[in-house]
Subunit: 106 residues, 2 copies
DNA sequence: GAATCATATTTCTATGTGGAAATATGAGGA
DNA sequence: TCCTCATATTTCCACATAGAAATATGATTC
């Protein structure tokens, strides 16, 4: 279903379920079954999204007995964060001005 | 080509050309023609991406004579930024530890 | 080794998508 | 009004993608 090709972090984040999976993994590593329970999505559906996340380098798997335990690997998000960096100034100008004011006048 | 439906900021960012357009608009508002010159993409291609960016609320247009001048409206990126927020702690732990060390031992 | 559990992959279908080319629109000028 | 410029939309194609259902795989247990 997917050509073998790397997936950008941006593309991986485009799907809401995948963001949800990452959010769940933020609490700690989880076996697929647990993700299925929490996600209102079929097991194959979850597996497919996990594959995309793997190809984006956003998660890693470890086999533990019968289970596959997934863990967050947030490094690729750093690229998104860096891209976002120059934009932050735009929407936070007012807030930053306030913070700076408070720092300078404590 | 696109069903009429809102586009999430995440989905808009999934396409590299669209990120490039936003980067260009960060310098200031620009007419479409200028974007076409700089983007190694056909004029219709640029127009289509601009439409997606409009539907995501990431740009606004103003008609000025014959030209349509596009401007950045980065507000929707704030949502992405906020989503990213809890992840920042993960990849920056080491860096933060270093910074803190330097602050405490100047 | 057969059965079972947990997960992955395949198959199917409907739909979304990018890019190129052609065409349409709308504003200003001759 | 007709023309031209700037941009938008449409049409076409090839291909990516989501989700559901069925099937396959691989590790453990009996």
């Amino acid at each position: 279903m997917w050509k073998y090709e790397e997936v950008s972090a941006y593309a991986a984040l485009a799907e809401p379920h995948r963001r949800q999976i990452l959010d769940l993994l933020r609490e700690g590593e989880r076996p697929v079954g647990e993700l299925v329970k929490r996600l209102d999505l079929s097991q194959p559906g979850v597996s497919k999204h996990l594959k995309v996340l793997r190809e984006a380098g956003l998660v890693v798997v470890r086999t533990e007995g019968k289970q596959r335990v997934y863990a967050l690997r947030p490094d690729p998000l750093a690229e998104v964060d860096q891209w976002l960096e120059p934009y932050r100034a735009f929407w936070s100008r007012r807030l930053e001005a306030l913070e700076q004011h408070l720092e300078e006048n404590p």
